[in-house]
Symmetry: C2
């Protein structure tokens, strides 16, 4: 049994966290989900979901860290205490998964330097401006570099979580997990219909520039 340690903060985007939680938490013979915030206690998502959390001090080593994004990342990229503690959590985790602008937080710790990563396409300019030492990939549903998984915006976290399941438990388990929640899984991490703002333009960009 492995532990998924979910990092929450006020104004996190509900589905960024709850999509991967649904997928990984459904595999309850494999993964147990725990919920954390810097100081513990209640955290409220952008959609008003009030969730109970433990403090970062209770995160155990060797777990799988899940970092969602959302408007709550905007102040946190300038919060040195939060970033220092997040770096400690990431360093003691076996794997790190970010969704949407969660990669902005990880980028600010420096742990993405010289690594490939992606993020929300609507916030791409903002995220990439925070740390140009990252190899930001514009056209990707999700990116894997070593033990770090980063996904594109919001619902892309579900595709990435299923990709993580595929990498760790195999394609049969991943496809069954998607099927059980009646989800049409985008299995190809390079198939990103939202790069460049919409599917049509992304397709043209791919044709024209072989992105």
């Amino acid at each position: 049994m492995q532990t998924i340690n979910v990092v929450l903060f006020d104004n996190f985007e509900t589905l960024d966290a709850c999509g991967p939680i649904e997928i990984l938490g459904s595999l309850n013979n494999e993964y147990r989900i725990e919920y954390f915030s810097l100081n513990g206690g209640f955290v409220t998502s952008r959609q008003g979901l009030q969730t109970q959390t433990q403090s970062f001090a209770h995160v155990e080593s060797n777990g799988i860290l899940l970092i969602p994004g959302g408007m709550g990342t905007r102040p946190l990229v300038n919060d040195d205490e939060f970033l220092t503690q997040l770096e400690i959590l990431a360093n003691k985790s076996k794997d790190v998964l970010t969704v949407c602008t969660g990669s902005a937080l990880l980028a600010k710790t420096g742990l993405l330097n010289a690594k490939s990563a992606t993020s929300n396409k609507l916030a791409f300019d903002w995220v990439t401006s925070l740390n140009p030492a990252v190899n930001w990939v514009l056209k990707a549903r999700w990116v894997v570099d070593g033990n770090i998984y980063t996904s594109s915006g919001v619902s892309a976290g579900m595709d990435m979580a299923l990709g993580y399941v595929n990498d760790k438990l195999g394609i049969t388990v991943a496809r069954k997990t998607a099927h059980d929640i009646e989800y049409v899984w985008n299995e190809d991490p390079d198939n990103d219909p939202f790069a460049k703002g919409d599917g049509r333009r992304a397709k043209e960009a791919a044709v024209n520039t072989a992105l």
Copy 2:
């Protein structure tokens, strides 16, 4: 501003609730989300998400009721107090939306009698056995009958929520909402790749029996 009143209970399926919450809650000039359970207090999802709720007594009239499904529905279909209170909530709501086996709960109140509705395809036999007076639709991503929306399993709730947005606010708003969360919306309520267990068989069934 309208209120989405989310009905939670222990062992609700996280994405059943959080998918529609993400979509409707993102339209925060239109919808405010409130969270309820029969007696209020903490409710824990199947994936361990601990959420704070108010009691059913605090639900205001004329809101939009959202009823998720999950393993927690299994004891509740035999819980007369819960069903009585749920019926009161549904009767005082403007619209009622169910996801997955949430339709089992609504079916047990009798409010789906002689109406068309759908549910999770993996649990379809169980759900339909609870109330044969409902016109259960096997092949549907979601079904609308009057002011009642019922969706197929788990992630179908997101497609239904976008369908609801389309019906109330128009296709442009619905498509923009899907795009903003980088979600490939299945816009067609009759396009159900999971009826009959898998897409191929569903397609054959549709061809062979004109379901």
